[in-house]
Symmetry: C2
Subunit: 235 residues, 2 copies
């Protein structure tokens, strides 16, 4: 039975980390809100009630409802062998995914530094300041951590000789950062060849190649998590 | 063999979620940086190398190094039965813990909205704006989610008839919010009796009672995650 994935229909956002793992593995899923729309998503969320998700994305696995990206990937990783089976391996992968989640939260905070529920246009000077520090300090720190993780990996991929959901997530981080900060990433990425190699390997996976060419892959836009505002970028 | 826990020595911070679970369960651990100091922590972090933690806290479990609070608790929960054993149960608990992690990140962002690496004093007007929205919109939304989770729980605790690390984490959320926003929490908390009941039940656990009276429990302060700046609070 195909999974039901529920996420905001117009953006890659956090849902994309789940989509990429499913697509790379060729696992069947229905991207429900792409058909039901935002109203359908909100109605479904309401219907889930008390112990339902705090926010999308969430996966309905034949009645088992799982929210939070890292939690969904932990479930899929174990069930479909998209993660190492040994505790040291899957704990390390979960740790890496949570660090990616931290990066994603920091990235969102750049364009919404003072009011998460207001528009970017209402906080542009603050966003410029947040972007400066992210570009100068946080971005290299995160990339250096991922680079070290790749370089110390036990095989061609982050967790061994086979791709895991950590690799597809790192792919999305690179793609998102390149879209959001083209100048900064062009200046920096030569320092992180291992990260770029993982990105390229993921892009070449048959499932990912087919996905990226399909209409299922939404383009990046300025409603998502990674947003390109030229005034926030600089080499 | 006792666990080694490494975290910034002067604050509760994110490490406190791990400490509370260990203390409630009576699990032996060495809070290493309380002896080694911040320099000792930084030296240890350096020594861990490439696949080491991105940031404290991390737990050294006889050579297995685990970072990220939710990941550490997942490990401890399974190993020491501080979590349900069934997938639906532990996945839901992990999801809840990740939502608590989101709240913690948003709370930190209130006093550091535009520059994570700079001082609060350099971003006070921005912090005031962030605090207003958090108090008005985000705080009730998080508390309502936790309240619904408690009310729909299958027993006296979040995951059944025995406390889990979700309960000790919710205790810490309430304590932190009461310290950070005494006026706002006094105005709001009557609406969330289930959350307060869990807080009170956790406070009454023998291990937690002993811990809270000990010197191991650091006081809240304005270096941690939850910070009391009177100008950021209002009923």
């Amino acid at each position: 039975m195909a999974y039901d994935l529920w996420y905001w229909p117009g953006i890659q956002g956090r849902g994309e980390f789940v989509r990429l793992a499913l697509e790379a593995a060729g696992i069947a899923y229905n991207d429900r809100a792409r058909v039901a729309g935002e109203e359908g998503l909100l109605a479904d969320l309401e219907r889930r009630g008390a112990r339902g998700p705090f926010a999308p994305p969430y996966l309905d696995a034949d009645g088992l409802v799982i929210a939070q990206v890292a939690n969904i990937l932990l479930y899929l990783g174990e069930r479909h062998r998209l993660a190492p089976a040994d505790p040291a391996g899957w704990l390390w992968l979960n740790q890496l995914q949570l660090t990616i989640a931290d990066l994603v939260a920091e990235v969102h905070n750049i364009h919404h530094p003072v009011e998460m529920m207001a528009y970017y246009e209402e906080q542009k000077p603050e966003a410029a300041r947040a972007a400066r520090q992210f570009r100068a300090e946080r971005l290299p720190k995160f990339l250096a951590h991922f680079e070290a993780s790749v370089n110390d990996a036990p095989g061609d991929w982050l967790t061994g000789e086979r791709w895991s959901y950590g690799d597809t997530s790192l792919f999305q981080v690179v793609e998102g950062l390149r879209y959001m900060f083209p100048q900064r990433m062009a200046a920096l990425q030569g320092d992180y060849p291992g990260v770029i190699r993982i990105r390229d390997q993921v892009a070449a996976l048959p499932g990912v190649r087919a996905y990226l060419r399909s209409e299922r892959r939404l383009p990046f836009n300025t409603d998502g998590i990674f947003r390109h505002y030229p005034e926030l970028d600089a080499a």
